[in-house]
């Protein structure tokens, strides 16, 4: 099995790279991460680095562990009683399983967008304001209003909802709800955003809006996105990681994965022979 060893490799042929600030700094890294559900090992020791201002797409057949692995980065697996994570995950060089690091603080730094849009059954304003208020990021209403506005603007939702901030967030369309959830995630100014199949419940138009949004957001965030849609992975990501049966089979520049896969399983999957 190939080890992901191309962290430092900067590709030159991807046209997206031009717009991306050259960074190369490692934001998060996973070392020998294993996840167990009870006695069953779901992830078999995965190593991966997430670079700043880069979008990494996780692809692979259903049940390959890509979502499970994604959820390791903000310790969402803690909420599952039988799940157990071993190995080391670093955020800016700091172990996120460190007893001194509160999981609340971690999740303020590593936000998450879920598969199904899940706005709170509250107003649009309250949906965005909840996070900043929770973490005490603002002192007064004006600042909070500003955060709500900028978050909605960055999520491309401001124009559509600015006149009805008091309307329930659940009354929006599916695509709008998902953008609301993205706005909610960026309102606490995280450094990393994890997206777990954010477009799987959306129609193609809403999907393309979110994809454009991801492209914009990567200027300020590190993004990891799980997707079932390979075109989407090809469109939005800088790097693509292919998972299979709990193993990270291959991770490389997206173009490289789709044009020149190193592993036969990757090739079989992207050419549609299984999955």
């Amino acid at each position: 099995m190939e080890q992901p060893a191309m962290g430092a490799m900067q590709m030159t042929f991807d046209e997206k790279k031009e717009s991306k600030p050259a960074s190369g700094a490692i934001k998060m890294s996973a070392r020998n991460v294993k996840v167990f559900y009870g006695d069953a090992e779901a992830i078999h020791g995965v190593n991966m680095d997430l670079y700043e201002n880069e979008v990494v797409a996780f692809i692979g057949p259903s049940g390959c562990g890509k979502s499970t692995f994604l959820r390791c980065f903000n310790r969402m697996n803690d909420t599952i009683d039988i799940a157990r994570v071993t190995g080391e995950i670093l955020l800016d060089g700091r172990d996120i399983h460190d007893k001194k690091l509160d999981v609340v603080q971690l999740r303020a730094q590593v936000g998450m967008v879920f598969q199904k849009p899940n706005p709170f059954p509250k107003s649009i304003y309250e949906n965005i304001a909840y996070g900043p208020r929770l973490h005490g990021l603002v002192d007064n209403k004006t600042d909070l209003d500003e955060i709500v506005e900028t978050s909605l603007q960055r999520a491309g939702l401001w124009k559509e909802v600015k006149d009805r901030l008091d309307a329930p967030g659940t009354g929006l369309s599916g695509g709008q709800q998902q953008r609301l959830c993205i706005a909610r995630a960026i309102a606490v100014s995280p450094e990393v955003i994890l997206m777990d199949e954010p477009c799987s419940a959306l129609d193609p138009i809403a999907t393309s809006i979110i994809e454009e949004l991801i492209d914009e957001l990567k200027g300020s965030f590190t993004i990891a996105i799980v997707t079932h849609n390979m075109q989407q992975a090809a469109r939005v990501s800088d790097k693509t990681a292919f998972f299979h049966l709990g193993d990270l089979v291959e991770i490389n520049e997206t173009r490289e994965i789709f044009t020149n896969p190193q592993d036969s399983r990757t090739e079989d999957y992207i050419t549609g022979r299984f999955g």
Partner: protein, 464 residues
């Protein structure tokens, strides 16, 4: 890439004539089964409708019987008498007034002495005199005459004097409660053709009653006694529900303030925070079992723990409330847990994903959504406790209590127990209606509780 995948799926097909035959056969089978399926559906609908119809019929039957029996009891025979508060009969000192510098105890002593003096006065003589104004021959037949007014009314007159002694020497037209047997006779709840030996009232009294009713002196008026008085055995006509109602109310409040917070808190802990292991499994099984324990067993527990061990008073609403709390807890816990289970987990993930702690996610997001369900479950649990009589038997709440409890530590009875007690009263002709009236009061209380539950549910309901 996806197109390639779909192409790959269409593999070799069977030849087309075979397929058509097969399809034909299938269609025939489906057609044949249709009739059976429709009959099945019709049958099931019919059974369902019959069941609902039968249930409705019984509900209607229940309500008509109770209402037709109980409603007349809300109006009770009263007699209009001109009571002259004769100073000859009420010979009493002036009511003591607290003097400057007098100690509380000294004043109370003087008051007690005055009250004792008042207690020796025979107020029945006032009533007899008043009756004589309507029936001139009454003084000759005192026994028959005094059967017109219920015996408790003399205490009512005494109370009037006690509260306002200036009434002495005046004449007041008052509506006094007639005797229970007069009420029975007037309402025709006893066979008028029965011989004297089987009648409760003498022939003379019966004649007077008919006469006074014709004159409008005896009349059915709305019975405040039913609501304002505690139970009574010496003066049956003045027996009321006040004691039982207050007892039930106190117990209900105790149950609400104990069972609901404790139950909801334990449900939240068990559902949201407790680790899933053998101990919590064991607790869960036990809670479910407790919900199925016959309520009388809780009464036994209450008698053993609260009365024998904690030395709480017998027949007190506090003990009843505690026992009913124990009984209601499993219901509240189970209702709350199932409500919490029904809250979509995506809400929890959303809150956790943004950095809310577990407690914050529960209290900011899960609980507000669960409130309607929790309220409904709790109120239904409380309503169930309110109608419970069995556990109260064992802690002495079936005893006859002729006072309205002022605190939860006073002796009292409860509405369902009062119904049971009145149901067993010897003067059936009078108490059959009274029992139904008590049932109406209890039902009204329950229906209003349930209405509150429904209203709260609608009020707090949020869609997600």
């Amino acid at each position: 890439m996806n197109m390639e995948a779909s192409k790959n799926q269409s593999s070799s097909l069977p030849d087309s004539t075979d397929l058509a035959k097969k399809r034909d056969l299938m269609q025939q089978r489906v057609a044949r089964s249709l009739k059976r399926r429709h009959a099945q559906e019709k049958r099931f609908k019919l059974i369902g409708m019959t069941a609902v119809g039968a249930a409705l019929l019984f509900v209607v039957l229940l309500f008509t019987t109770i209402l037709s029996k109980g409603l007349p009891a809300f109006w009770q025979a009263h007699i209009s008498l001109e009571i002259y508060f004769d100073e000859e009969i009420i010979q009493i000192d002036d009511k003591p007034v607290r003097m400057d510098g007098e100690s509380e105890a000294a004043f109370n002593d003087r008051m007690l002495a005055w009250r004792t003096q008042l207690g020796f006065i025979n107020f029945n003589r006032l009533i007899l005199e008043a009756i004589s104004k309507e029936i001139p021959e009454a003084p000759e037949f005192q026994r028959d005459a005094m059967r017109l007014v219920t015996s408790g009314e003399r205490f009512g007159l005494r109370k009037m004097v006690e509260e306002d002694p200036s009434i002495i020497g005046t004449t007041q037209r008052l509506w006094l409660l007639a005797d229970a047997n007069v009420d029975v006779w007037m309402k025709g709840n006893i066979d008028r053709d029965l011989p004297d030996s089987q009648q409760q009232l003498s022939a003379r009294t019966r004649a007077w009653v008919d006469d006074l009713e014709a004159k409008g002196v005896l009349k059915n008026r709305f019975s405040t006694a039913l609501f304002m008085n505690p139970d009574s055995r010496s003066s049956l006509a003045s027996a009321g529900l006040a004691g039982a109602f207050m007892g039930s109310l106190m117990m209900m409040l105790i149950v609400m303030f104990l069972a609901v917070p404790i139950g909801v808190a334990s449900a939240i802990y068990l559902e949201e925070f407790a680790p899933k292991n053998k101990i919590t499994d064991f607790i869960e099984v036990n809670i479910n079992n407790l919900a199925a324990v016959p309520s009388i067993v809780f009464g036994l527990l209450g008698a053993a723990v609260f009365i024998l061990w904690f030395k709480l008073p017998l027949s007190a609403p506090i003990v009843g409330g505690l026992v009913l709390t124990l009984m209601t807890l499993p219901t509240v816990i189970i209702a709350t847990r199932s409500t919490l289970k029904a809250i979509p987990p995506s809400i929890r993930s959303a809150a956790l994903g943004i950095g809310a702690s577990k407690v914050q996610s529960v209290f900011h997001h899960v609980l507000p959504l669960a409130i309607p369900g929790i309220l409904t479950g709790s109120i239904l649990g409380v309503a169930q406790a309110l109608g419970e009589a069995a556990p109260l038997l064992l802690i002495g709440m079936t005893s006859f209590v002729a006072s309205v409890p002022a605190t939860p530590f006073d002796q009292s009875t409860a509405l369902p127990v009062q119904i049971y007690l009145w149901q067993g009263n010897e003067l059936r002709n009078f108490f059959e209606a009274r029992t139904s009236a008590a049932i109406i009061v209890l039902l009204a209380l329950m229906i209003s509780l349930n209405a509150v539950a429904i209203w709260l549910r609608k009020h707090f309901e949020t869609r997600w």
